[in-house]
């Protein structure tokens, strides 16, 4: 599974990657670009070496905390139009509690740790870096 992609995310591929006969609960999270203040799309950029290192560390943490759980994720980069997914996470565990917990853990850690930046593109042609207030 490529964790960083410039193509549309396939949730089916993520689900297939975590599926297994001993895992009866699967949780999938999808983050999509939403229309906010005339936003037409978001351009995502990345520090790829560090993002991949962080993803590998997060997945190792999941394996340690929830040993029977399998988790994978994909983050899409480049220009993503409104309505399409920028992030997808799939977690499968023997039972649903661990699947939900692991999935939640990964999205919260992604928000805190992944070196990825978004620039909002608006219908009037303007652009704005998210989280930066001087521009």
């Amino acid at each position: 599974m490529e964790h960083l992609t410039r193509s549309a995310i396939s949730v089916d591929a993520l689900l297939a990657a975590v599926h297994g006969p001993e895992r009866g609960g699967t949780c999938a999270f999808l983050g999509t670009v939403r229309t906010d203040d005339d936003v037409t799309g978001i351009e995502y950029s990345v520090y790829d070496d560090m993002a991949l290192a962080e993803i590998n560390r997060m997945l190792a943490e999941v394996e340690e905390r929830w040993p029977d759980t399998r988790v994978t994720l994909q983050h899409r980069l480049g220009l993503i139009p409104v309505g399409e997914a920028s992030i997808a996470i799939a977690a499968a565990a023997p039972h649903r509690d661990a699947a939900f917990a692991a999935c939640r853990y990964v999205i919260e850690e992604i928000k805190k740790r992944l070196p990825i930046w978004k620039k909002e593109l608006r219908g009037d042609g303007s652009e704005k870096w998210v989280g930066v207030h001087d521009h």
Binding site: G31, Y44, S45, Y47, D49, M50, A51, A53, E54, H75, S86, I87, I107, I110, K111, K112, R113, L114, P115, I116, W117, K118, K119, W129, V130, G131, V132, H135
Partner: protein
């Protein structure tokens, strides 16, 4: 003396007009903060970087007092907004 590669991303790459630069820091106990000061002195546009930006050293987030060594890679990271 340590040569450190500094990488800029997103808004910070726009401010500095470049993706990376190499800086030299002196002494045995140079820190990421010292590297940042050298960048401010040598890279046009870097004066507009925030006083205490988020930083990474060799692919891990660190505080500005983290020590650097020759050949290290420091990255200055705008507020993260993945997901």
């Amino acid at each position: 003396m340590a040569q450190v590669t500094v990488r800029f991303f997103a808004r910070y790459a726009e401010l500095t007009g470049c993706d990376s630069t190499d800086v030299l820091v002196t002494g045995n106990s140079a820190t990421v903060g010292d590297v940042l000061e050298r960048v401010r002195e040598t890279v046009p546009g870097a004066r507009d970087l925030p006083a205490r930006p988020l930083a990474a050293l060799n692919l891990r987030q660190v505080k500005l007092d983290a020590r650097v060594s020759d050949g290290d890679e420091v990255a200055l990271l705008p507020p993260l907004s993945g997901g």
